[in-house]
Symmetry: C2
Subunit: 461 residues, 2 copies
């Protein structure tokens, strides 16, 4: 294990992404107003790395970089940029740079760019597009947010059912200019433009010209409804190893195509959302300002304050017991803390399993039984440990028994709440990542304090 | 927001993955010993869904399904199966079914299958392979675990620099049988078999036969060292929108290729690891048994018990103060809990930003300053709220001031610890997702109790 960690350090250092030396050199060039040097430094960078650069510096430096190196900020950099910064950067770019930047993008990237902007900025970008592109983008925007219709690209390479390999290749050569930058399948459609199958370019390249497309269909073929939620789309790509999939409207007609790189980006965003929501942080980005960050975090802290006060009210019921045996005040946070941790373990496993569809109606009761068993076993284990600690520390067998019993109760309840709360929230259509934590820790705090102090009152007083 | 949630319910229900009705029908068929019906139900399922089925049922049902439907368990199902179940399923499958299953797989899938098995099971599978495949797999196993060398597939479509589009297409048609199932680029190599560029199949298909491959090179071309850590590989695919990338050895020679679907699977696994580690759960799967699950969760609970006891020791220093003012015992968990939550918010943002390389040496101090500012501002905000609660509840201005001051201190410290702890762990080469939580909550508990009770002792007594 130790060796592995050390082995990994080297490749990490020569890994991908921006390195600090480049960032430092760029700052120097900007400070010196050296446009040529800045160009030399930006030129070899991938648009995604330029976007990261803009995200990593503060807004003052950002403006200086944009001002001096405006020719490097093309559409790709814009579409790689974190949403929280797009408005700022777009507002700052000269109109002609912006227009040129936007025109290079494929329709799905323009849609992605537009959807988070205010109306006036949207209008500026739409105006910059050519008529056909603008129409395409406006149509895409009629699909619901976070749907396959927004995610798809409209440039599709398609062929009728009766075509052969030769006819298809001739068609591709003749329409070379109209082909999308990246495509991996030719979508075969019936006369009603409904997709019936697809052929990989590899098969097309390696088959004789006389072979019919229908003989080369791939088993992996699946269509995606345009209204489908994008998380579901990402799930399908990951589960079924799709590379691209045709998107269809309600009538089953081909309206676009989604490729795996977009699905991978969605998967990444969904994960980010889950991990941040579990911690009670909403949409969040390192480039957010202080006020913005406070605004994101206060709601959850406020909810937590509410639950903490509820837990305190439970404690307040036992003031007399605590006044008589102060050791109770010393030990009570241990019971609550252990319950909170055990609950978080269960709920995180449950939230993740719900997201990956591993936890379903058909195995939920088995998982609940397992969690309860785990909770009780761990409860007994830590009851023994804490019982021993109680005896050694306070020399009281009774106190030790009280804390041991409270531990078993709270770890059992924590395990149950940890699985049942996210499952119920999911059934109600609420994202379990968002709300489970609060419910579960409220339960474990209240039960933990009540069980420990309640038992103590009965037994010790 | 409300409407969105409701809108999403429908597509979810007709979404992907196994549905409960199918699972129920399969159970019925198995219970009835109806091999034909089971076949009808399994036949339309994707291998990934069959693997999910095996994961969702308990081990008794699993055996029954495997026994009755053994002809459906091919190599793909095996490679989709969760690692925790592979040994069990492989041990149970008849030797000939297993051999056939393994022979269908590409080399990267066999490697993935092998690396988690015990020696005897590895030997069974290696024996089932043909000589050439076995050699390829054994060579792949010489690369470090979780490296690009293990992830890559060895079947690469390559062409020398001087070839034209026509020559390449002729070559592909002539060697049709040897082509991998899925490939997206032809890798162009120099006489030393070092990759110098690649050409997309789309370009190959749409260009005239006389065009040289070197004229069609893609800008996105990047090579990946075989020893590179797989998380780094997934990062590169996601950051640079790669579809496939050639893998090279120390001498820069082409040894294999990694495709985006494998990179997407790694990204998904890394996320799973992060989210579970943040919650103090190690490698975990819903199909793990009770004992296994206890074993995974006990270590973190033990660590948490240690930190909870440390916090209790802090409380114990103030027993006399608590005995005199029992309200302190009632209010103290609020300060600790708010600190813990604020710390978790900061650390989750930091852990995620480290994973996505958004938090680097060049912006770390700016982010630390921001977190501290957010912590202090939120501290002041909740100091006011808790001050008011203190006055209303206990009618004591002094107590209210004490809790308000403790709140500011603890939320400030929580914010600092939340960012500094993961950054320092990362620099030390420890995964910040694994250990940050413990450190940060220890700090916030200790500081929270100490600040509140300490101030109270000074002011109130």
């Amino acid at each position: 294990m130790e060796d592995e960690v050390i082995d990994q350090v080297e490749p990490e250092e020569e890994g991908y992404g921006l390195d600090n030396r480049t960032v430092a050199a760029i700052r120097l060039a900007v400070a010196a107003g050296d446009r040529v040097r800045l160009g030399e430094l930006l030129e070899p960078l991938h648009p995604a790395d330029i976007a990261d650069l803009l995200e990593q510096v503060d807004s003052g430096h950002r403006r200086e970089i944009l001002l001096l190196g405006s020719s490097f900020f093309d559409g790709e950099v814009l579409s790689e940029l974190d949403e929280s910064l797009r408005e700022e950067v777009i507002a700052f770019l000269p109109r002609d740079v912006l227009s040129e930047a936007v025109r290079e993008l494929e329709s799905d990237d323009v849609v992605d760019l537009l959807e988070d902007l205010d109306e006036p900025q949207q209008a500026v970008i739409l105006d910059a597009l050519e008529d056909a592109d603008r129409l395409a983008v406006e149509q895409a925007l009629t699909y619901p947010e976070y749907s396959a219709g927004r995610l798809m690209q409209r440039e599709v390479v398609r062929a009728p059912e009766h075509w052969t390999v030769g006819e298809t290749i001739d068609h591709l050569r003749a329409h070379k200019e109209a082909l999308p930058d990246q495509f991996y399948h030719v979508i075969v459609v019936d006369p009603g433009i409904r997709p019936v199958g697809y052929v990989t370019l590899g098969k097309l390249l390696s088959s004789r010209r006389s072979v019919k497309l229908t003989e080369l269909f791939e088993e992996s073929f699946r269509t995606i409804p345009a209204t489908q939620e994008e998380g579901e789309v990402a799930y399908a790509f990951n589960q079924y190893h799709l590379i691209s999939a045709p998107v269809v409207d309600d009538a089953g007609r081909l309206v676009g195509i989604i490729t795996i790189d977009d699905a991978m980006a969605v998967l990444d965003e969904e994960h980010e959302e889950d991990i941040l929501r579990l911690a009670g942080v909403g949409d969040s980005s390192l480039s957010d300002r202080v006020v913005e960050t406070c605004r994101q975090r206060v709601p959850w802290l406020l909810v937590n304050l509410g639950t903490a006060i509820v837990a305190s009210l439970v404690i307040a019921q036992f003031e007399t017991a605590i006044a008589q045996v102060v050791a109770l005040a010393v030990l009570m946070p241990i019971v609550a803390s252990m319950g909170g941790n055990a609950g978080t373990q269960s709920l995180t496993v449950a939230v993740r399993a719900l997201a990956t569809k591993d936890l379903t109606g058909s195995n939920v009761w088995r998982v609940v039984r397992r969690e309860l068993a785990v909770g009780v076993i761990n409860g007994v284990l830590f009851a023994l440990v804490m019982g021993a600690v109680g005896v050694l520390w306070f020399g009281s067998g009774t106190l030790a028994m009280v804390i041991a019993a409270a531990m078993i109760i709270n770890l059992g309840v924590a395990a149950l709440a940890g699985i049942l709360v996210p499952v119920m929230l999911d059934r109600l259509g609420v994202d379990p990542a968002l709300a489970s934590g609060t419910f579960v820790t409220t339960v474990t705090d209240v039960v933990g304090f009540f069980a420990f102090l309640g038992l103590a009152s009965v037994v010790l007083l």
